[in-house]
């Protein structure tokens, strides 16, 4: 293990859950905080497996990490809006799970905020369906819970 190449001169190989291998620069990989400790110990033959990340997600993450620094400071908002614009709710959720697992700089906030906008001012039933939540309250428990915060259930959008 003594003859390791300097990590800064090597690209890092990342393997997604669906078996694709991506080569990224250390500068990009280091912004995925979860794998940072693994990068230090890796050489050009190391492949880091990402069990919760699909190729689609990693492609988007790399697009973000490469594209954001290239945008002018005043164009960052526009870049971020464009980045999430064509993603379906399922893709947004999947990407949020992936960036949450990898702890990607800046992207966790953007994805969490984007998902939050999808459930803002929606009914309880809508949000349960959105997240695939099974209601494990008895009707009496749920009624008690609603009563506790009755002010929070007025005036939501139609589903």
């Amino acid at each position: 293990m003594a003859e390791k190449a300097s990590p800064s001169s090597n690209s890092i190989s990342l393997k997604t859950v669906d078996g694709k291998i991506f080569k990224v620069s250390p500068a990009i990989a280091n912004q995925m905080l979860t794998i940072q400790p693994l990068i230090k110990d890796s050489d050009s033959s190391t492949i880091i497996s990402l069990p919760d990340v699909a190729a689609f997600h990693l492609t988007k993450i790399i697009e973000y990490l490469e594209g954001k620094p290239a945008a002018a400071p005043s164009a960052v908002d526009a870049f971020e809006a464009q980045f999430v614009k064509d993603l379906s709710p399922e893709e947004l959720k999947g990407l949020l799970i992936a960036v949450g697992y990898l702890k990607v700089n800046g992207l966790v906030d953007l994805m969490a905020n984007t998902v939050a906008k999808l459930i803002e001012n929606k009914s309880v039933e809508y949000v349960r369906k959105f997240f695939g939540v099974v209601n494990d309250f008895t009707p009496a428990e749920e009624a008690k819970c609603r009563q506790e915060h009755a002010w929070a259930f007025d005036g939501v959008d139609e589903d």
Partner: protein, 242 residues
């Protein structure tokens, strides 16, 4: 695309769910407590209180109740409040109680918007100093009190339509924020019309770290404060009484 991950709730960690909740209006975050047993306590751990949606219509008791339920142990990073939007019956005392409560919980970002027509003063003199506050945005409110402690870590200050009863109140506020990097002051008004001079009762040091300044009333902000600045914008909004 081929979905290899099924994006149901079991794939979300509590951390990520709290992160989502922290971007929601507090009303929506609280409403998630009835989704399921897992969700029931989660909103309490989202480090944000946000009452700004104009379609909400709630009394100030709701803010007290939310603050009380969160207790003092749970950190609160962001506090956003729009009076004359959702909260219709708050006064100066309520606002200082909430802001101080938020500061005690390690507040980093305060965004307060009142309404000048309500004639509520923001009692800055009663607000605790904070070593955690980094962003302060005040909108449409009156400051009639003297600032005591200061915000040594504050980096961003936006004053939008803020009326200072006396010029020294503005100067106290600036002198309490020595590490300011960004200052936006759109339409600040100083009611006593006093402009800066060197015999001011306390010393105004240069704001060494200031990078961006956007002001509409140049005569309110002494040049000594902003001489280091890299980006300076003036925006003439209306003519001040001279």
């Amino acid at each position: 695309m081929a979905e290899t991950v099924i994006n149901d709730i079991n794939n979300f960690s509590d951390d990520i769910l709290c992160h989502i909740l922290s971007f929601l209006p507090t009303k929506d975050a609280v409403a998630t407590s009835v989704l399921s047993k897992r969700f029931r306590p989660l909103w309490l751990f989202a480090p944000s209180i946000n009452f700004t949606q104009p379609n909400e219509d709630i009394g100030s008791w709701v803010v007290y109740s939310v603050m009380r339920m969160r207790g003092l142990k749970l950190p609160l990073k962001r506090f956003c409040l729009k009076i004359n939007g959702p909260i219709y019956d708050a006064d100066s005392f309520d606002i200082s109680t909430w802001v101080n409560g938020a500061i005690q919980r390690g507040l980093e970002n305060l965004d307060l918007s009142l309404s000048l027509s309500l004639d509520i003063n923001f009692p800055l003199g009663n607000i605790l100093g904070s070593k955690t506050l980094m962003v302060l945005k005040l909108n449409k409110l009156k400051v009639d009190n003297v600032f005591i402690d200061g915000f040594p870590c504050l980096k961003t200050m936006h004053l939008d339509d803020v009326v200072f009863k006396e010029h020294r109140h503005l100067m106290h506020l600036l002198s309490g924020c020595p590490n300011l990097e960004e200052l936006h002051a759109v339409k600040p008004v100083v009611e006593d019309g006093y402009t800066f001079n060197h015999d001011e009762e306390f010393e105004v040091q240069s704001l060494q770290n200031l990078v961006t300044v956007r002001v509409s009333m140049a005569d309110c902000i002494p040049m000594e404060c902003i001489r280091q600045v890299k980006f300076l914008g003036f925006k003439e909004v209306y003519h001040h009484h001279h």
